[in-house]
Amino acid sequence: MKEQKIKNQIRRLRFDANEMTQAELAEKASVTRQTIIALEAQKYSPSLELAFRIAKVFDVPLEDAFQFD
């Protein structure tokens, strides 16, 4: 499978955010839990809008949550 070039720190950010669950993050970012699972497994590159939404949930700059390899 083609490797995704956009890496993310969602799992670490969830852990830092008082061990937020995938379901809680999914609800706050208005996506399904399966999308969060795929993101954490680095198997799905989100749209720019979703990336901003997730960064906003954790209150961090976009580049702290997502990096381009």
């Binding site: 499978m1 208005s30 839990r33 399966q34 999308t35 699972i37 497994a41 979703l50």
Partner: protein, 153 residues
């Protein structure tokens, strides 16, 4: 219940659609084709088979889709769902176009020049072939969606 936890509501619904397509295929088409081959496809017989198929589909839908939606939480579609849906429609469209092209080629080009054609393309036969193409296209759509969902888990 572990099975239900591993699959989202959407995936289970797609599985249910796929199984319904297969059930309909195994019930409907063998009956229709045997009637076409025997030359006994009359209106009342056809109506009976279609009515039975619709009743089976309705009963299946009530129980299976009802159970899925009662046991799992329904979720709003997100961007990933829409992307996979578009990919599956693309595959479905390719299957549809290629199948129609093959069917037209058979009818217009090969059938008249072939002394022993595989079948006579009568109106009921063409209607059934179009139904099969529709079903194939729908199955291709469901399989593509399931493949994409499982690939990324």
């Amino acid at each position: 219940m572990q099975f239900l936890n591993n699959y989202s509501n959407r995936e289970l619904n797609i599985w249910a659609e796929l199984i319904l397509d297969i059930l309909v295929s195994f019930y409907f088409f063998p009956k229709i084709f045997s009637l076409i081959i025997d030359g006994q496809l009359y209106g009342d017989v056809l109506v009976g088979i279609i009515a039975n198929t619709i009743i089976i589909a309705i009963i299946y839908s009530i129980f299976v889709f009802g159970a899925i939606n009662a046991l799992t939480k329904k979720e709003e579609k997100d961007e990933r769902d829409y992307i996979y849906e578009l990919k599956s429609y693309r595959i479905s469209n390719i299957i549809y176009q290629v199948s129609i092209f093959i069917l037209i080629s058979q009818i217009v080009v090969f059938n008249p020049i072939n002394p022993k054609p595989l079948t006579d393309f009568t109106a009921p036969m063409i209607a059934m072939l179009l139904l099969i193409i529709t079903l194939l296209s729908s199955t291709g759509k469901s399989l593509t969606q399931l493949f994409n969902y499982r690939k990324n888990i």
